[in-house]
């Protein structure tokens, strides 16, 4: 007791480890008395938040073993701390304490019943699970007695599917029972992880649970608490063990004596249990039914917000049919579960033994459906009409078509009492089923077959977007009662044109990723061209919503209708009744006559939905009025004034049409029409609304590698999906005064480099086959994110190969650091394996060269071995051109000339800069 004063220096010495043993003892005893020094010490060690952080980070699981045994698991659970605190002290450093003869190694779990500890039986040197009764239950004498009695009864059940009981101790402060430690997981955990289980697993688990229950029932023991948490799965599902026999009763005793209420989660209770009536073995059968239901669907059959609600539903409601939730479950399985879930015990199966045998039989049938029939008892449960209807559907389909049934039969839809069958030659066909404009169902059709049920009526079956390898035979089907309709999906033949331009014609201009890309650009070019001509005629662009013919008052229709005469569709325009709403009976008839120009080439050819939308802005009306006023009194300060007014306007306005003079960004970087995937009939006056404070709308959806947009100056560009939101917003508005450099999808694309298998003489890239030039080829996949594009090129040169002038040219490309690193990573590991590798360079979608890679060093990529000077020069020139375009765009983003170079496929039809623009320059 030399230093009983508060001495900060002493605290520091302690932390530095400078105190002698005696001085440390003094400090310790001082801390016994002096809380403020204790707190001071803690503050010096770490700030309060660090203490909290440590508790949080270290608290939620075991440090060593992320598996099942979690000491400290749920340590917020007072029950665990309470049980752990009552363990006897131990000498074993690895032990948390002792209980009886067992060294406790950790906590396995905690539940309504108590806490399960993992422990070592030192005398027998085996690991066991010790279930310790929850302290609040142990306080009830009758619960303690029940606990012991039931546990002893359970110990008498010797069955592989029932957990063995090594011993029960009633006398300890907290009664406990000792069981084998089962390495594995509970069914609950498995369901959480995996959701609904495969049928074979469900049957295997169900049969074993039923067998275990049968053994217990034979001894007169009712489990009363069959639920996924009480089913242990050892080594997958090969062996199933039921735990916690009869213990629920002890809980009931305790809770009833304490509060008169039923404790625990009632999700798996039987109706008689929920009503508080006496239960027998058949109650366990009901719970087994809920267990099977849960395995089939991933959730329990009776769910509600409160325990009371759950019990009410258990007593009152039939469960939702399993096959409505999981169509993979056969109807006979649904019938079995429904019988187990009968509200009246006498309507269920007669015994667990019977259920075990039936489920075994079902399992055998599932594994060998052709040789082993379903057990008769189960087959009788299945409503025969349904089975017949399926057979009928198959036969009728063949008859209807007069064709042999196709190899892959994919889907049978039960439409009320009618049947829609979808057959296909192909796997993995994405399909959507529409009713009117509503998508009823999206399906991926696979050979295994999936069934789904939707309401009766008239449907259209469409291939989902971007799937162009197949066609649907009859897209519109009307399902009548008891009728069968068949829709066939067939592989799109090479010669199949689907009404589009022939594929040969589309091949020629080279730089499109696909004919569909080219078509999209062409469509948008025609649309923006039409808009320019409209502006020429009217002095302004159309509004998004046009009221009456030419906007001279009347029911609203879309600008797309107004544009028809300019798209060579005068006849269609004349058919439109402008004095009727767009969805009047007459005008609706015109929906199916949508000109192809409004439809993405990726959409179904019969789609009535447009794929191209104007961008409208909310706040345009007051601004439009202000602009109109300004137009009337233009002066030199015009532009400055504009900027004050219009932060967020887009090209399409709602009340007044915009004019090119309003577009202050320079017309080049301002989007007029975008490609998007919406279900909007083409005449409906709906576009895409833009607001600065709303989420950015989703554009595109038709192509994987970006989306097309027509800019106000008449160019059409394909924008990259990786444009950032800010750039897109800038491109959508007409006058935010910001320079915009859209990231466009690239012409030069070098994607993933990979090695062609040895001996392979050809490489298929895109739609063409290339001969490998006398050696293995590093080829380029086109459907991946590019390794680099021209945007990553800083310079490109070509010169004769100094080492071998006769052979060819050297192209040097200097890449950005990042692109260089990417390219290097991809090439080094391959060239290491195969030193003489070749690289193919794809430009505008076609291989330009298969040169030898000489030196990808850092950011410098040198290519040699090009065949012939001409091709090297052309390639280098193309690359240089791409680079210079890139640079120009960066340096002068508003310059019209450079932008006009961008990706213009149909240069002849590109409209001249609009008059509004010219007016401004005056």
């Amino acid at each position: 007791m030399t230093q009983q004063v508060c001495d900060p220096e002493r605290l520091m010495s302690f932390l530095r480890g400078d105190l002698t043993a005696a001085a440390e003892r003094d400090l310790t005893s001082h801390l016994d008395e002096c809380a403020s020094c204790g707190q001071a010490l803690e503050q010096r060690v770490a700030a309060a938040f660090v203490w909290r952080e440590a508790g949080e980070f270290l608290g939620d699981e075991d440090l060593d073993d992320p598996g099942t045994c979690l000491p400290g698991h749920e340590t917020n659970d007072p029950q665990i701390s309470q049980v752990l605190s009552q363990l006897a002290p131990t000498d074993d450093p690895d032990s948390l304490g002792r209980i009886g003869g067992y060294e406790v190694a950790g906590v396995i779990g905690s539940g309504g019943m108590g806490v399960v500890l993992k422990a070592r039986d030192s005398s027998l040197d085996r690991v066991v699970a010790v279930k310790v009764m929850a302290p609040h239950l142990a306080a009830s004498g009758s619960a303690r007695q029940r606990f012991a009695r039931e546990a002893k009864a359970a110990a008498a059940v010797l069955h592989p599917n029932v957990i063995a009981i090594h011993g029960v101790t009633q006398e300890a402060e907290l009664p406990y029972l000792v069981m084998p430690y089962v390495r594995g997981e509970s069914l609950q955990k498995r369901l959480q992880k995996e959701g609904p289980l495969p049928l074979v697993d469900i049957l295997r688990i169900g049969a074993q649970v039923a067998a275990g229950l049968a053994a217990a029932h034979q001894q007169g023991l009712v489990h009363r608490d069959i639920k996924p948490a009480n089913i242990l799965l050892e080594e997958g599902v090969e062996r199933v063990t039921i735990t916690d026999f009869g213990l629920a009763r002890a809980v009931d005793d305790a809770s009833l004596t304490r509060s008169g209420a039923v404790a625990g989660t009632p999700l798996y209770m039987s109706p008689e249990q929920a009503r508080g009536e006496p239960v027998d073995a058949r109650s366990d059968l009901f719970s087994l039914g809920t267990l099977l239901y849960t395995m089939c669907t991933g959730h329990s059959p009776f769910r509600a917000e409160t325990s009371f609600g759950v019990m009410h539903r258990i007593i009152q409601d039939p469960p939702r049919p399993i096959t409505e939730i999981n169509a993979d479950v056969p109807l006979w399985m649904e019938a079995c579960v429904t019988k187990l879930l009968a509200k009246r015990p006498e309507d269920r199966f007669s015994s667990a033994k019977e259920v075990a045998a039936l489920l075994e039989g079902c399992l055998a049938h599932t594994q060998r459906p052709t040789t082993t029939p379903l057990p008769d008892r189960v087959a009788q449960l299945t409503p025969p009409p349904i089975r017949r209807r399926w057979g009928f559907a198959l036969a009728a389909a063949g008859a209807l078509l007069g064709l042999p049934i196709l190899a892959g039969i994919l889907i049978i839809l039960q439409l009320g009492t009618g049947t829609l069958r979808i057959e296909s030659e192909m796997d993995d066909v994405p399909i959507r089923i529409m009713q009117g404009n509503k998508v009823v169902e999206r399906l991926t059709v696979s050979r295994d077959g999936t069934s789904t049920r939707i309401a009766a009526g008239e449907y259209r079956v469409l291939l989902d977007w971007t799937f162009d390898r197949a066609v649907v035979s009859e897209s519109t089907v009307s399902i009548s009662r008891n009728g069968t309709e068949v829709v066939r999906v067939t592989r799109r033949g090479e010669g199949s044109t689907g009404g589009g331009p022939s594929s040969d014609a589309l091949e020629s201009p080279r730089w499109f990723a696909s004919p569909a890309h080219k078509q999209a650009v062409s469509d948008l070019t025609r649309i923006i061209n039409g808009l320019h001509r409209y502006q020429k005629m009217h002095g302004r662009l159309p509004t998004s919503v046009v009221h009456g013919k030419d906007g001279k008052a009347g029911p609203p229709h879309s600008w797309r209708v107004e544009l028809l005469p300019l798209l060579g569709e005068q006849e269609l325009y004349d058919q439109y009744h402008f004095d009727e709403p767009w969805d009047s009976a007459h005008n609706k008839l015109l929906l199916s006559k949508m000109p192809a120009v409004f439809r993405s080439p990726q959409d179904h050819p019969q789609s009535n939905f447009t794929s191209y939308f104007g961008i409208t802005s909310n706040d345009i009306s007051p601004r439009a009025a202000a602009l109109q006023a300004m137009r009337e009194q233009r002066d030199g300060k015009l532009e400055a004034d504009y900027e004050q007014y219009v932060p967020e306007a887009t090209v399409f306005w709602k009340r007044l049409g915009a004019s090119f003079i309003d577009m202050l960004d320079g017309t080049s970087s301002c989007i007029a029409v975008v490609e998007a995937r919406r279900e909007i009939p083409w005449t409906q006056p709906v576009d895409i609304n833009y607001a600065s404070d709303a989420l950015l709308p989703r554009f595109g959806g038709w192509f994987d590698d970006g989306w097309h947009a027509a800019f106000a100056d008449g160019t059409v560009k394909q924008l990259a999906t990786y444009n950032d939101a800010k750039s897109i917003r800038n491109m959508l508005t007409i006058s935010d005064g910001q320079a915009v450099t859209p990231r466009l999808t690239r012409r030069l694309r070098i994607h993933e480099v990979s090695l062609l298998p040895e001996g392979e003489r050809e490489a298929v890239i895109g739609q063409r086959t290339y001969q490998v030039p006398g050696g293995p080829l590093l080829w380029i996949r086109t459907d991946q994110v590019p390794l680099f594009t021209e945007a990553d090129l800083l310079a490109a040169t070509s010169e004769p190969d100094p080492n071998n002038r006769s052979v060819g040219e050297v192209i040097s490309m200097t890449l950005t650091e990042e692109a260089g690193a990417r390219f290097l990573a991809a090439t080094t590991r391959l060239s290491e394996q195969r030193p003489a590798a070749y690289l193919a360079i794809l430009f505008d979608g076609e291989i330009w060269s298969a040169p030898r890679v000489v030196a990808p060093i850092g950011a410098k990529l040198t290519i040699t071995g090009l065949q012939g000077k001409e091709s090297a020069d052309t390639l280098a020139a193309k690359i240089r051109e791409a680079v210079s375009q890139m640079r120009d765009r960066l340096n002068a983003p508003q310059s019209e000339a450079e932008n006009a170079v961008e990706l213009q496929p149909v240069q002849d039809t590109r409209p001249q800069p609009a008059n509004g623009r010219t007016g401004r320059q005056d």
Binding site: S29, L41, N76, Y722, R829
Partner: protein, 199 residues
Amino acid sequence: MTQFPETRESLIIQVKDPENRAAWEQFVSLYRPVIFRTALARGLQEADAQDLAQQVLLAVASAIGDWQQRDESTRFRHWLRTVTRNAIVNALTRGAKGQAVGGSSIQELLAQHPPAEEETESLIDWEYRRQLYRRAARIVRADVHADTWRAFELTVIDGVSNRTAAEQLGKSIGTIYTARCRVMQRLRAEIAEMEAGEE
């Protein structure tokens, strides 16, 4: 998934330098749980999260050759850390679009400009810190007396008061104070050392 499965295994063996090899192994043990838990927090199921961790680590491993040939100037650990973070963000953001995982090639995972994903980034930071704590805790626990650790565990992790802990452990309150402070100090020292190693 990947275009060249046969190259994957050999790529890991590319970590030939024993010093770097040890660093790599340490790195994997630190980052695997980080990736796994980040993925869980982003809503992936356990099995998918495991796959994703594997995928990301394989992608990173495949890039090691790149570092060895070009980036000798960069510290190996630092480089690993950057590449991995990008890969996690890439995997989670791209994977989320279509299927849960599996859609990303190695190159996609290694793309150097992942989309800005503050949520994922901060999750990674959080889980990374958790791993530092856990690893430090394993080291410290092995070093200190069992009672000392227990005092720390009870009071800091389980949130038991010093007084209760003293009663439970049959120690004086002063002992609890010194024990928990000593452990905390060791923890912080270990974490600081690990962080220094990572930077």
